[in-house]
């Protein structure tokens, strides 16, 4: 039926309800049949954290190939892992020291030939051989960025009690109900146990009875969180408007808010703050030419990308030269610029065995589902 005629007949009431539904269904079927546009050469597909898909992070790749890769973004590594396992053909993925093992275990990674990376020689030697970078003698992740995870807060809104003793306990304190935001991650249960005095290594691997016992305390952070964030933009807006006064955050949130002229501080909680390093992994699910993947990773390891991370996000970078070409003020503001020293100064996130990941995820989902 012609479109105009259809609308006209519908308007004048000469169509039955069934005819309308039939036409709607036919439209839906026809829509799925439209031919897909296929491209000649496979484009590099990258699974990336939200926010890292800007051309500036891989300028030399864009320079060489004209455009960047196609991106699919994720908020957490488990989500990305599930996507690849469900058949998503990604070539490159951006895991971290504590999560890359899951990809290796799932048999998805391809060892990286570091001789194909022109910037590899400038990577901090300690990072070249760090746990997570090398697994079973193979380099599975080219380290790229490193940084912290701590509490970002608004000193003008938070009150003196917190400022006098910065603590992760704020998320589990009913006095801050609806004023804080935690990451949407089982880490919340682990941090809860650290607030109660357990050390990180033990809390990180908590399972079974102990995990069940930790549930109620973890649930407090879910109850008190205005929202559980998966997207740093949402978090940034919340802190900027004053909707929340404190949140689990990475360096870039603090840096971005300061750049906007908002008074925000990065806490050093008494239980300690976290540190991590992430990098690029080549996946065997991809369809693009591996040379593209190497170009992309090499671009990420370039000092120019490092300069951008240091100056704009307050993150560290794996390339030693990045620190030489960056604004000295920005480097100074970072404090420690040696990643090894940096990681010693704080708690380095550690990998969890797969059964632990699964059990903690399950309990975490249960806590969230039971929130009223």
């Amino acid at each position: 039926m012609q479109r105009i005629k259809f609308i006209d007949r519908m308007a004048s009431g000469r169509l039955t309800r069934r005819q309308i539904l039939q036409n709607a269904a036919a439209f839906g079927v026809a829509f799925t049949m439209l031919p897909r546009v296929t491209s000649a050469a496979e484009v590099l597909t990258c699974l990336e954290w939200t926010g890292y898909d800007a051309d500036a992070y891989f300028q030399s790749y864009v320079g060489k190939h004209g455009t960047g890769p196609s991106f699919s973004t994720f908020g957490g590594e488990e989500e990305a892992l599930a996507k690849v396992r469900a058949g998503f053909a990604a070539d490159v993925m951006h895991p971290c020291n504590y999560s890359v093992g899951r990809f290796v275990e799932a048999g998805l990674t391809v060892p990286i030939d570091t001789t194909k990376l022109s910037n590899w020689k400038d990577v901090f030697p300690a990072l070249q051989t760090a746990q997570g970078v090398v697994v079973d003698g193979n380099v599975v992740m080219a380290p790229a960025d490193w940084g912290n995870a701590s509490i970002a807060y608004r000193p003008d809104l938070i009150g003196d009690v917190f400022k006098d003793g910065e603590t992760w306990g704020i998320f589990y304190d009913d006095a801050f109900e609806g004023k804080v935001s935690m990451l949407d991650d089982p880490l919340v249960i682990i941090i809860g146990q650290m607030v109660k005095g357990m050390n990180f290594k033990e809390a990180n691997l908590i399972t079974g009875e102990k995990l069940q016992a930790a549930k109620d305390f973890g649930a407090k952070a879910v109850k008190n969180s205005r929202f559980l964030w998966a997207d740093a933009t949402e978090l940034q807006q919340g802190l900027a408007s004053g909707e929340i006064v404190a949140a689990y955050a990475w360096n870039d949130t603090v840096k971005n808010l300061l750049a906007e002229g908002i008074d925000v501080k990065y806490a050093k909680p008494k239980e300690g703050y976290f540190t991590w390093f992430c990098g690029m992994t080549i996946l065997n699910s991809g369809k693009a030419d591996p040379a593209l993947a190497y170009d992309f990773i090499d671009a990420w390891l370039s000092p120019e990308t490092g300069k951008l991370l240091i100056e704009d996000s307050g993150y560290g970078h794996a390339n030693m030269k990045s620190f030489e070409i960056s604004d000295p003020e920005a480097v100074k503001a970072m404090g420690i610029i040696d990643p090894v020293e940096h990681m010693k100064s704080a708690i380095l996130f550690e990998p969890q065995p797969s059964p632990v990941v699964n059990e903690q995820q399950r309990v975490w989902e249960e806590i969230k589902a039971l929130k009223l």
């Binding site: 004048s12 039955t16 309800r17 309308i20 079927v29 205005r226 995820q361 399950r362 589902a369």
Partner: protein, 293 residues
Amino acid sequence: MGYGLVALILLVLLAPLIALVVLSFWTQQGFAIDKTPTLANYWSLIQPSDKATVYFGIPFYLKNPVPAILLLKSLVMSLVVTITVLVVAYPMAYFLAFRVDRYKVLWLILITIPFWTSYLLRVFAWKIVLGFNGAINSGLISLGVIDKPLDFLLYNPVAVVITLIHAWVTFAILPIYVSLEKVDRNLLEAASDLGDGRWARFCRITLPLSLPGVISAALLVFIPTVGDYVTPTLVGGPGGTMIGNAIQTLFFKQDNAPLGAAVSIVMMLVIAILCGLFLWAVGYKRLRERSAA
């Protein structure tokens, strides 16, 4: 043409459904899937426990209470959405059918305007309306009604319900409108001639004859909203999650696709049974025959 369409529908609808059913009888073992057929996933959804998990004052004696609780919650939320949508949509459809004489096409197009933007954008728009610095809060503050933003507007089940109502109201207007439009005007005239007032005429003629439209509108709204995923994700906060979110996390975060498939199947069955009961209770067949006569 007809057979081709049927074959296509079988292909695009039935094939994934069968895959889902098959998947639900398998089990996840770490990264691998054990393909021995078993009812373990379904059993885990109803496996009793002596310890009750209390949610909203209702005790659930289940070992894994999350799917059951979220399914119940989603059904209740969808029911609220459906009823409100019908209450809102009916007068609009009535106006369109009986009060608008000219430019009906224009009116219909105007009503479908919200459809011209993506569903996601409409949900985001509600986030802006209900947000901390959003339209409602800044409006009330500038009017001096409140001095601090209201924080109960967003990130809870109510926000999800409001957003869903707005998103689905157009779907309800069209079928109701078509039913109303088909009501024989002679019957209305006859009723007036025989002494019925406006209200009596509406109750005895218009409403019963338009019920098939109302019923299909109800189903059209209820069925998809139970499993909605995007809306609770964006405006629901931790307290506004629904069964769709639970299924998503089973597939994508908890690494248990077979259990996710089982929950999906159970959800489908429950909705199908409820809809069947509903149609039987309202005597749909009888209604349809009457309005066709």
